[in-house]
Structures are given as C-alpha cells and as structure tokens.
Amino acid sequence: MPVAGGEIGVIELREMVDEFATRLILTGVTSELVADMGRFSEQARESGFADTVGIAAELIEAMNDVPPGSEVDAGIVREFSRLQASLSNESAAPREPELQKQTKQEQTKPEQAKPAATFSLMQDPQLVGDFILESREHLASIESQMLVLEQNAADTSAIHPVFRGFHTIKGLAGFLEFAEIQAVAHEVETLLDLARDSKLAITPAIVDVVLESADYLKQSLNCVEEALAQKTSAVFGANRTLLSRVRAAMTQSPAEAATAAPDISAAIEPATAASAKESKPKAGDSFSVRVDTGKLDHLMDMVGEMVIAQSLIRHNQTLTAAQDARLQRDLSQLARITNEVQRTTMSMRMLPIGQLFQRTARLVRDLSRRAGKQVELETSGEETELDKTIAEQLADPLMHMVRNALDHGIERPDDRVAAGKNPTARVRLAAYHQGGQIVVEIADDGRGLNREKILAKALQNGLIQEGAQLSENEIFQLIFEPGFSTAEKVTDISGRGVGMDVVRGHVQKLRGRIEIQSKPGEGTTFYLKLPLTLAIIEGLVVLVGANRYIVPIFAVKEMFRPTPEALSTICGRDEMALVRGSLLPIVRLHRRFDVQPRSEKLCAGLLVVAECQGRQFCLFVDELAGKQEVVIKSLGESLKNVAGVAGGAILGDGRVGLILDMDGVLQGTTHE
C-alpha cells in the first residue's frame, strides 16, 4: 500500500487517467484502449506508482500506434501529454530505492519539481489562450452545476462535473505554471473529493466557498488574459483567505456529513460513464469557427445584392414573357436558394439566449440569499436565438429587471405565508418568438405593482398632473420614468436611482419595448419585445415627391388621410392634427428635408402618427409605397451625423432609400 505522502499523487494520477479515459470514450477510440486505461487506473489506485509505470509505458506505446485516421482530438492529446509528463516524472523517481516516500508528493506535481522552467509555457499565447477558453467553459458549467447541487444536495451526479472542472483547471494551470490558480483549484478539488466520497455533506456554506473560488478563478483568468494581451506576466489577487476558508470548509463536522452519507455511495462508480454522456453535446458546440465580423458584414452585403439581382431577373419582362416552363422552374429554384442563403447568413450572427439566463441564475441565488427570500428560478426557451449584439446589450437590462423583481416584487417568506402563498417565490425567465419578434418574459409571483403607490409617487415627482386620467398600462409605464423608484428604502440590491429608466433606454436602443402585466398579490410580468436582429429593420416606405424614405415600423402608431376638420393651426403657423382626441403637432417631411412634395395640401397626403421618446407627432408625407424589411446600412463616415437620418437601405430596385430617425426628425423641427 502506498504511504500517506504518495496517496494524493495517486489520486491525482487516477483522476487524470479517468479523465483521459472519458475523453477516449467521447472520441470513440476502441474499447480495448479504454479497458486498458481502466486497468491502469485500478492498479494505480491499489499499488501506487512504481508498478504502473510499465503499464503506462505500454499504453503510451499503444497510443502512438493509434492510426492517424482516427480522430484523436486536441483534448486527448493534451490530456495524454499531461499524463505522460506526470509519468515520466514518476518513473524517474520510483525506480530508485524505497526512499521516495517524502519526495513523491512533490514529484507528482511537475510544476513544483522544475521551478527553473517557470513561465516557459506561459509565453505560448496559443496554449494560454486555449487554457483561458477551456477554463471559462468549465467555470460556467461549474456554476450551473453548483446551483443544481444547492437545490438537491444528494444529487451526487452533479458533483462529478464540478470536480472534473476544477480538476482540469488545476491540471492545466499546473501545466502552464499558474501556481495561484492551481492552488485554489487544488483545494477545492480536495474538498469536492471528500464530498464525492460522501465524507462531507454539501451545505450552503460549501456551495458558497466553491462559488467564491470559481469567482476567484474567473478573475484570475481575466488577469491572465490581460497579461497575455500586454505580454507581461499575470498578477493575481491574494488568495490566502480563500484558501484557508476552503480548508476550513473541509473540516466541517462529520456528524453533518453522516446524515447525508447513506444511499449515495453506490452512485459514485457509474458516474464516469454518465458524465461522459452529459458532456457530449458540449463537444458538439466546440465545432465552431471564429469569423471576423467585417467578413460577415461583407457577406451580408453581397447576399443582399444577390437577392436584389435575383428579384430583378425574376421580374424581367422578357423572361416573364417567355413560355419556357423549364426556365420558370429554374428561376423559382434560384429564388428559393437565394432566400435560404440569406436566411443562413442572417443566422450566423445569432446566439442562443441560454447563456444570459445562466448568468441570472447565479444572480438570483446570491440576491435571494442576501435578502433572506426563498426564490426558485425557472427558465424556458434557452435555445431561442437572437442577434449577438442584442444578446450582449441585453445582459445589463435583464440583470437589472431580475434584481428588481427580487427586491421589489417578491415578498419575505413570512409575508408570503401570511398572504396564503408558497413561501418559496418563483421567478420565471422565458424567451420565445412571436410575430417576427423575440419576447423575453420576466415573471415573478410577488406582490405585484401597486397602482396607488405609483400614482402617488409620480404626483410627488411631478411626473403627472393632479387628476390625470391614466390607463393601467400608462400607470405601469411610469416606473420607467427617470428618477422613479417605489422602494421606500434603498437596499443594497436596488433602489439606487439608476433604475428602470436605464432599462428602458437600453431596450429602446435595441429598438425594443417593454410591456407590463401585473395583478396585485399575484405578481408582475415584464415582456421585453425585441427585434430579431439589429441588421434588419421593418419599415414603411413613404414617398415625398421623387424621394423614398423608410419609416421604422416600431415608431409608427397609425396613419391616416386627414380631413380638413381634423386640422388646426396655432397662430396660423404651427399645424396640429386631432388624432383620437389628442392634438398632435404635424411635421412636414418635405419642409424638414427641403424637397419638392407632390402636393403641399395636407388633405392630399398622408399623416403617419409616430411615437418616439414618449412623444407623439404626425409626419406628413405624399403617400405610402409599401411595407418592407430592409438591411440597415451606414451612410459612411462623412454623412453619419445627418440629423433625422438613421442610415440607408437598398430597396428592391437596387437604389438607396434613407431610413428616418424619427427622434431626429422631430427635434430638428422644434429647433426651427
């Protein structure tokens, strides 16, 4: 039997071998090799290193014989070289007399055995980059698994991926000589090993310390990344206290552990196979290519042109007159293919929303703990895809709204019980497609919005006049006004002034809007309605003289041909139109843009009722030419600041139409 000093080394080696075997299974290498690995692992466990070196050497031989055709992926190769490194270290030592008891521990950690080589590997940016990427993936999965564990401490199958994650990070960090990262990962791994063997129960305190360690590792990875970019060596934050806390968590009372101990021990052995299955889809995810967004944009441009060219050909009169069935068939085939190409190109910018939801899971956990509330997070529609830019910019508003729901929406457990509700509140995040939009739902079953309180607050802040008649929706929308917060006291969670107005600002920037449904005592649901992509806009093509402009449809409320009765002027100058009981100013687009209209008479044209920044106005145009989806193009650097113009779009005939920036149109007018 190995002595105490060597045991840790053996465990480490065994884990390494297990991981290696898992990867082998994943890549479908023959079962013979896997069996060999198992045997090897078994022996390592039983006898310590010395006897296994021979088998390892055989194995390495066998690995070298793997035909080049079989897919041995980078992970295997890396794992394998680590194993090899570990073994060669070992084989150097144990063949010497049985003196190695004390030195063994050191030798199993190659990075400690050869301090002279420090930073040699760190200088390989490729390796370090891979390390950062892979570690981040592990940390993300660690976080979600820990949350599962917290829900269900007996779910030992969740420990394994966490353990493996830390283990891999430790190994890689050791390989690359990031001693601090390695130290933390090592301690946590030891902690988790105890938990895995049911010697330690998973308590919230342990979950905390593991998550904290994950945070520390995340920060360290950021440091490494920064250092990599600046080509300096990484400086890590202090981890002493963290280390000691991890250790302290390990010495937790065994009595507690015993309660959790029974019935789980059996579940440990088959776990490797189960976890191998789990990680399979992940391997699929990694078949991706990073592409420069410039190239993607160019591709989009070209595809857009192809669609236009295709439609020009399709509507060519000579061709449509031709009585050639074959030609017609080919043309429609071409149209189908073009559409498919366009759709695929668009989808290349899309990301599933699930990652965003994952981040909120952590937030919900931390906040509910801090606020002493019991909250369960439910998510659905994680696979819903949305534009990368939108996903990135949605993160902050989403976090903020979840924070708000937890702080303002959800009551304390005793209040909930008093109200006859389940003490555990539910927060639901859902994403789905609806009518060409993406809807992100944030629902809580808390106390709901208090109409009276909102009204009182709005009056107090001068947002509304005394006696104003507001619909329920209008009242709810008040919470998005700047400086509005119904929280009576400022908590450290929310209520710090920056609030829902910032959220609305963000969402509007993404050309989306927020709708609210709320029932007192039953909860509140926020619906974030967002466009599928920022690259495409749906708009009304309007005509003014010979010019075509595109009015973004999200800004349009309605449109109508005015009658003389609906029109009035102030001092014979400012024109107004009566729309559904309210007087709205009229902006003549031809005057605003100084172009020749078809007719100056308002009754001969069309009024488009538009809303931007909460203000409504009527835009006077000649007529409506249609509704169209267009790809937004910049007008270029020299024309990017034209007031009232958001960009250009290439219309069906290949010419450029200007997309209106309704806010700019209105503002330019009020200055006159």
Partner: protein, 174 residues
C-alpha cells in the same frame, strides 16, 4: 496624409529628385478644364445613375448611391469647385475613388463631366503649381501637366475630399 505634405513641401521648393508625382493619371473633363487624378486612387468608373439626396448637406454632396451593397456618398466636383452646375448627360459619370481618412480608406463617388484618357506622366511633364500669391494655399493641387500643348490640372483627391472639409460639413448639419 504624410505623403501629401511631403509632396507639398516639394512643390514649394524647386523640383527635387524623389518626386512622387510621376505615374499614371486618369484625366477627366470638368467644364472647360481637364483634371487628372492618380489612377491608383480610382476604384471604378460608372455611368450616372439615380442618386438618393441626403437632406441638410452642402449642395456639392449629391447624395448616396448603392455600390454593390455598400452605400457610398457622391460629391459633384463641379459644385465643389464652385463651377456652374451642369445638367447630367450621357457622358457624365461617377468616378469611385478610394480616399484616405483618419479611420481608414473609404469609398466616395465624384461626378465629372466625362472621362478622357489615362496618361502616363513623367517628371518632365509635371510642373509645379504657379504661385497665385500669398494666402491662396492650394494643398489639393499636385501640379500641372502639359501634354501636347494642353494643360491638365493634377489633383490630390485625398485633399479635395479632405476630412476637415467634411467635418465642416458635419458642423453645418448640426
């Protein structure tokens, strides 16, 4: 931009060795005059087409066109040089040039009366811009070329469509 200043420095002194000006020039008509721009700056030449006007821009900015999926601004060089405006005819065309800007090269179209030829000019063909007196700085003139008795004005198109000019343009807009 560096090379431009370099060229100007040379212009003000006597002709020296290392003159960067010789090379191929695209010659086009504008009113009675003939102008030349470096061929390397030219991306393509296209017939006149529908230009979408952009509001609140100086009159020489004719608007924008679709150049194979990219929206590029078009400048009327006649108006830019304060020449009388002319109706666009069959020979009128848009020269798409690549202009160096601080943020990188961008494409712009210039409307000219017509394209004449491509000339290979040697250092001997090119003369410095005559001094029109103090104060009249003409950084966008590279020099004059005399070929077969006719004078062609060589333009530095980067300077003609220079940044400060268009920033001034933006200033007007705001």
């Amino acid at each position: 931009m560096q090379s431009t200043h370099h060229a100007i420095a040379e212009n003000s002194s006597a002709l020296v060795a290392g003159d960067s000006r010789p090379g191929k020039y695209l010659v086009f008509h504008l009113g009675q005059e003939e102008f030349g721009i470096r061929v390397l700056k030219v991306r393509e030449i296209m017939g006149i087409q529908d230009i979408t006007a952009v509001p609140q821009t100086p009159s020489f900015v004719k608007g924008v066109i679709n150049l194979r999926g990219k929206v590029i601004p078009v400048i009327d060089l006649r108006l830019k040089f304060s020449l009388p405006e002319a109706e666009y005819r069959a020979r009128t065309c848009i020269i798409v040039v690549q202009v160096a800007k601080e943020s990188g090269a961008i494409l712009m179209g210039i409307v000219v009366d017509g394209v004449a030829e491509v000339l290979n000019l040697t250092a001997g063909d090119i003369e410095n811009t005559p001094n029109f007196g103090k104060g009249a700085e003409t950084p966008y003139l590279l020099g004059m070329a005399k070929v077969k008795g006719k004078v062609k004005i060589l333009l530095d198109i980067d300077e003609v469509l220079a940044t400060q000019d268009l920033q001034g343009l933006n200033g007007i807009l705001q």
